[in-house]
């Protein structure tokens, strides 16, 4: 895509794009740090995630202001319009990812106080976290690379996260039934798993928005959606 006749227009769009990339990198780092902190019971790391969330919020506010100003000043059209509106929406999903990572970090203390170490309780949370982290990093990378096809695959891959979540759910349920003293820790871990699953959903939203920004067309509504925990609860109640 060529440059605008007005070069400051390009600079403004570039700045918004840079903020999205920054927020993307930060959301990846926060997701990784919060899950590491959880699995290692690392309170200091958890505190860092909590303070990083303030940076994330500030970046989102800056992006919103810049995007609104750009719309007012330039009245962008076609792919410029899509990229500005898309940026606002992606930033809001990235900010939510930051919130969810912060929420995981806040539970680190609560889980650690109990007897059993989280790692022994949550083998599959580890695997799930790895998968979600990969999704977060990949969506940012494919957005930067402007790779629309990869975004479709990425969106479909959210199913794997859902499957992992179901397996974590079952695993934690088993621990709670085995020993009621695990219930507090496991409930916190269950919230953490749910947060990871929600992060996966935000990645899906970002992939859809990024796809629209790049191509101008929306991805079809349907996508594989599997939440067997819902069925498990139904079956057992």
């Amino acid at each position: 895509m060529g440059e605008h006749t007005v070069s400051s227009f390009d600079e403004e769009l570039e700045h918004i794009d840079r903020l999205i990339r920054d927020m993307g990198d930060l959301s990846g780092a926060m997701t990784r740090a919060s899950t590491n902190a959880l699995l290692e019971s690392d309170n200091a790391l958890a505190q860092r995630v909590i303070s990083d969330d303030a940076i994330m919020d500030a970046k989102q506010r800056e992006l919103d202001e810049r995007a609104i100003t750009l719309i007012a000043k330039r009245q962008p059209m076609a792919q410029d319009l899509r990229s500005v509106v898309g940026a606002i929406r992606m930033a809001s999903d990235l900010e939510r990812i930051g919130d969810l990572a912060k929420n995981i970090a806040k539970r680190v203390g609560a889980v650690g106080q109990q007897g059993a170490t989280p790692r022994s309780l949550a083998h599959s949370i580890d695997a799930m976290a790895g998968l979600v982290l990969h999704q977060v990093n990949a969506v940012v990378e494919q957005y930067v690379q402007r790779n629309a096809d990869a975004l479709i695959r990425l969106r479909d891959d959210d199913e794997k996260v859902d499957i992992q979540y179901t397996s974590v759910f079952r695993e934690l349920l088993t621990y709670m039934m085995e020993d009621p003293r695990n219930i507090t820790s496991c409930t916190h871990l269950l919230f953490c798993a749910k947060n990871l699953e929600r992060i996966g959903d935000h990645v899906t939203n970002i992939a859809e928005n990024a796809y629209y920004v790049m191509t101008g067309s929306q991805l079809p509504v349907q996508r594989p959606k599997l939440d067997e925990t819902q069925m498990t609860v139904d079956a057992e109640s």
Binding site: M77, Q79, G216
Partner: protein, 271 residues
């Protein structure tokens, strides 16, 4: 549960963007000004009772095409028009066509308001008079009032109909010119940058008017303002270097155009 299939969604989307019946059509239209060719085989259909916007950088041929639609180019000696322009399926360049009658059916509003140096009343009554559409005073009164009403100007000028039209503000003058065009009951109204000499409020009034006129008239508007084209039109045609680059539903043209030149032009990357 909402189980809309892709095919159903696709169908809904397409029926929404289907062009209405064509009121005017250009078939392989070429225009030469002396040796210089200004239009290169343009094929474009103007749907009935819709607003079609013609956009493109200066010198792209959009005004030239517009002026073909009511043979305004006849007034330029060195201008030659090829191909055919159809109005309700009839070629308007047929020698049997009465040009004066044609221009009553296909009216025009220009960039700069150009009221006659006559009273407001006479500006509107002039067309019906020369076309013999009214004869009695009461008939003229009625056509003047309804035309000014339709142009959204009546309430502002009803107490000074005998004052000169040139004494009105720019925006009022432009709406007077629109009233003058409407007075002869045209089927199509051509507008060549009707708002470029107006302030934003007068522009908004004219745009509001265009939206109302769409119920009864087919409108073709040339504009340099992308936002205006996006606001007032249902379909947009993009011209570049005498060629029609792309034509389609306005919503699509301004969010996701197919052609790179359209993309570049509307996003401000050249032009």
């Amino acid at each position: 549960m909402n189980m809309l299939t892709d095919a159903a969604v696709e169908e809904t989307l397409q029926s929404g963007s289907k062009p209405a019946a064509s009121k005017m059509a250009g078939k392989d239209v070429t225009v030469h000004y002396g040796e210089k060719q200004a239009l290169f085989g343009v094929n474009l259909e103007v749907p009935e009772r819709q607003v079609m916007a013609l956009i493109g950088p200066s010198g792209c041929g959009k005004s030239t095409f517009l002026r073909c639609l009511n043979r305004m180019n006849d007034t330029i000696d060195i201008c030659r028009v090829g191909g055919s322009i159809l109005l309700d399926g009839e070629d308007i360049y047929d020698p049997r066509i009465d040009v004066v009658e044609l221009r009553a059916r296909v009216g025009m509003v220009f960039q700069k308001p150009n009221p006659f140096p006559k009273s407001i009343y006479e500006n509107v009554a002039y067309g019906p008079r020369i076309h013999g559409l009214a004869s009695k005073k009461s008939e003229f009164d009625e056509v003047v009032e309804t035309s000014l009403q339709k142009a959204g100007l009546f309430n502002e000028v009803k107490d000074r109909l005998q004052e000169p039209g040139t004494g009105l503000s720019g925006g009022q003058q432009q709406r007077l010119c629109i009233a003058r065009a409407i007075a002869v009951s045209p089927e199509v109204i051509l507008m060549d940058e009707p708002c470029s000499a107006l302030d934003p409020i007068a522009t908004a009034k004219v745009e509001e008017l265009i939206d109302e006129l769409r119920e009864n008239y087919t409108i073709v508007i040339v504009t340099h303002s992308m936002q205006q084209a996006a606001r007032v039109s249902q379909r947009t045609a993009m011209f570049h270097l005498g060629n029609l680059v792309e034509e389609g539903p306005t919503d699509k043209m301004f969010t996701n155009p197919d052609d790179k030149r359209t993309q570049d032009y509307i996003t401000g990357r050249f032009g």
